[in-house]
Amino acid sequence: MLPHAEMVHWAFAAGILFVGLCLLSEAIVGPEVWRRRKWRAYLWPGVAFALGVLLWPVMAFFTNSAIHMYAHGAWAQVLMLAGGAELGLVHGRLRSPLWRLTWPLAFAVSGIAFIVHEQNAWTFARSAFLHHLLGWTFIVAAAIVLPLVWRPRSIVFRSGFALIVVAVSVMLFCDRDVAPVFGHLSPLAGVAHR
């Protein structure tokens, strides 16, 4: 028997939170100290790539409509692309700073996928609200991480990147399969559970 969709969201939230904390630490100590141990340089890009890989089984087993499947597939692809590009940059195999464009791209695609695949209004249910909120957060995030392509050492933009990732994990932790948002739950959404 498969776990509920909300549980899968929480598991991903935990992974994303870990990536966010690593990004925050890197922003605080700077890349020189962060990369003093080789394995640590690969840590968060590796986890991000792994989360992208794990999104494929989620796409296969947890989506109940074509549009959900496309959205999860898009997230899997862009997360693998951005994580993989970051791994290549850390390893030195990729040298062009333009590879850092993969993060704004991943965020923009994720945001659009969230907004497009949510068919209901903001206050339909908590999941609908979170889809809209996550979508717009990702679109704003794409603009915030874009300057990192040209200013990869900027503590402001690096911290912004980290805090956005942490915020995304918090939103995913708030997800419930059927639950009210601000006391409102459409009767069409179903019966709320804990």
Partner: protein, 94 residues
């Protein structure tokens, strides 16, 4: 005439390292505290406290516990070695 100047003195560098060390030391405990506070506010989310009748997955995925576990893993895997490296880097630059 030739003069030398310093961009930052050792005391300033040490102070900056101390602030960074404190911030890194705080991240893990703050995350664990987040999980604990969540568990206190919504104890029904911790199915371990009332496991009778709960399904397998409800016992595996307990969001406040997941948050606290992330904090613990971060302290063990990232924060401790990073703090050691930060001190090393500071000592090397003196």
């Amino acid at each position: 005439m030739e003069t030398t100047f310093t961009r930052s003195n050792p005391a300033e560098r040490t102070r900056r390292t101390t602030v960074r060390s404190k911030l890194i030391s705080l991240i893990g405990p703050a995350t664990i505290a987040g999980g604990v506070i969540w568990a206190i506010l919504q104890p029904y989310r911790l199915t371990l406290l009332h496991p009778v009748g709960e399904g397998f997955w409800w016992l595996v995925f307990e969001p406040p516990l997941l948050v606290a576990v992330v904090g613990v893993v971060f302290i063990a895997v990232v924060a401790r070695p990073l703090l050691a490296d930060l001190e090393e880097a500071d000592a090397a630059s003196r």
